[in-house]
Symmetry: C2
Subunit: 350 residues, 2 copies
DNA sequence: AACGCCGATGACAACGCTGCCATCATAACC
DNA sequence: GGTTATGATGGCAGCGTTGTCATCGGCGTT
């Protein structure tokens, strides 16, 4: 008696559905039913088959499956280099759900400015007949991508898109309200001159955040000052430049709210040059609660969005075909994370 | 005359090889030959076929291909949550080469401690008969993964593995030398008491770096002091704890070399508590040149490894089957990146 | 002129699975 | 008891491609 079961072939050809069928003494069709959790299989048969599947470590071949049916068990994740942390978190969430459901993930990094974008997406989708695609910003607002997906009749879910599209499914937080909340928080601390660093103009959430900022000011009866609103592009570098502009104003703001953490971190770096102590001389707030927010000193007050949960939700929508049957918009809650980078303005009471 | 060519069906069924064959007036087999760049096709025929392929935006179906041939055009990237920046850079490099070669990327995030690891990997590989797999640390040193891959007869390339395995292909930098160089640089600045924060014990590169540090000390005739070498785990949190230990020593080091940037950033944060000015009171060096290294203040002196290039090389090895035919070890050059976090020790001349 | 060779091309099976339909036994109905 | 519904199962075609082998013509050789 050898310790390893003799019928388990240790060579490298994986077991096929035929092997399982033979071992279980049923037809391949029945094996298929069991594996796909279909009904109309007796418990006894199901058990026999399961046993054989286990014993042979049988896994249905993804290609054969994809060829024979409409279901590819493949989800696509398309992105265009936003921050590494953002994508990483997203990917973890996506993979979690995929694993649970037996799906696989194909990722593709695209360039939103590439004129061939549409063709690239179309190729990807038709080649591998993806079950569905997840679009992260800024791709979710890129018409060429949407068109290609529609042309290929491929379901997709957009994460944090600029505006709702008829017939499209979205997952998002309320960027407007989140930015509103953060701004209101700063105002509540006593700040009256609050600088804002906008995100990439092509990024929908960036605009919503700016709108939230303006709305909060208005609500508090504070004027919106042109010079306090500078353009950034979500990158650290652009934050450096934006910070430079804001800190060299004759009438400097007492707080700066940046469209994301990377830019806020840049403001921190920038303020050193002007010998400004954070948060004593200047409060700084970011957005995203990425790793940087916790690593810089002082740690950043920021706004956390549940990226992983959002990613998981997107996959679920795709798998359940919710996305296609009845387009949904799912909104998640954000959370204000107050850390050391924000305090009342200099000279304030308390 | 409609502007869009009438023979191009705008419905969502992608063109198949039959459509192309019919349009080009040849057999499907000839189309297959052209698409796969095989020889024995006349130039005239090749051109006709190419024209048809273009016109119909034909792309060979990945499933049919995978089923009919041994080639799956699928590369797997396996990782276990190292730093987001590391994986992101890796992924970009991998995707670049994949795109160029018409391959697709399937990613899977695994847990190195999961007892089911072997089974998971085996499933993935047999299901989708991957062309090859790329293993990042610490997975590249996980026996269960290696075994599963070997059992499935699946080629793989390991990035920065601990030690060479007979018959395995590796891509790496010389971590030993890199750490040696960094340590020597610090010694050159005049430092005599240099703390070291080790990386995760299960991570091969971490050990090589520690060895490099020790060797440089020895070379300079400096003693290796136990209390100056503390254990970390590559995480920010572990860096915080390690920094705490080092900074509370009665005889504090004048420089700290951390096994990666995250931990070095933690030391920066930690030193604030003890009112130490970096780099004036303490020099700090990291490893990886990740985003954090540039974002913290002062910016970190660190060691850059060409992650993207390494990833691209790994894919190339897989595609050319170099990995299987004759296992290779490719070594890339590291680069010392000197920034503001390191200066001569306090009291040094100059 | 007959032969063999080679490059170009096509016919056809096979890849492993699922969808559709047929079959059969058993249970529920009048 | 005969008929119909219902659950369980299997047979078989077909998914779009590639591998194998056959075919066909033209060309160089004897």
């Amino acid at each position: 008696m050898k310790p390893t079961s003799p019928e388990r072939p240790e060579n490298h050809k994986p077991a096929s559905i035929y092997d399982v069928a033979k071992r279980a003494g049923v037809s391949i069709k029945t094996v298929s039913r069991v594996v796909n959790r279909q009904s109309n299989v007796s418990d006894a048969t199901r058990e026999k088959v399961m046993e054989a599947v286990e014993a042979l470590s049988y896994r249905p071949n993804i290609f054969a499956r994809g060829l024979a049916s409409e279901r590819s068990f493949l989800i696509g994740l398309l992105y265009d280099n936003p921050s590494a942390g953002y994508i990483a978190a997203m990917q973890v969430g996506v993979l979690t759900r995929c694993r649970e459901e037996g799906y696989h993930l194909i990722v593709e990094s695209l360039d939103a400015a590439n004129p061939n974008l549409g063709r690239q997406v179309h190729s990807l989708v038709t080649e591998s007949s993806l079950h569905g695609v997840i679009l992260t910003p800024p791709l979710c607002d890129t018409q060429a991508v949407i068109d290609a997906l529609n042309r290929a009749n491929c379901p997709f879910v957009r994460i944090a898109p600029e505006k709702h599209l008829p017939g499209a499914s979205d997952v998002r937080i309320d960027d407007f309200k989140a930015a509103y909340d953060m701004t209101a928080y700063l105002i509540g601390l006593g700040h009256r001159r609050i600088g804002f660093i906008k995100g990439h103009p092509g990024h929908g959430a960036a605009q919503a955040r700016f709108a939230g900022y303006r709305s909060a000011l208005e609500h508090a009866g504070l004027p919106l000052e042109e010079e306090l609103c500078v353009q950034g592009f979500f990158s650290y570098q652009s934050g450096l430049e934006a910070g430079e502009k804001l800190l060299t104003l004759k009438n400097r703001p007492t707080a700066i709210f940046a469209g994301n953490d990377d830019m806020a971190a840049a403001v921190l770096a920038c303020s050193q040059r002007y010998n400004l102590k954070i948060p004593h001389d200047l409060s700084v707030a970011g957005f995203d609660d990425s790793l940087v927010a916790q690593v810089v000193s002082p740690r950043l007050t920021t706004c956390r969005q549940p990226i992983r949960e959002m990613a998981e939700a997107a996959v679920s929508m795709l798998i359940q075909r919710t996305a296609t049957d009845a387009p949904v918009e799912r909104q998640f809650e954000h959370e204000l994370v107050v850390r050391e980078s924000t305090v009342p303005p200099p000279g304030a009471i308390g």
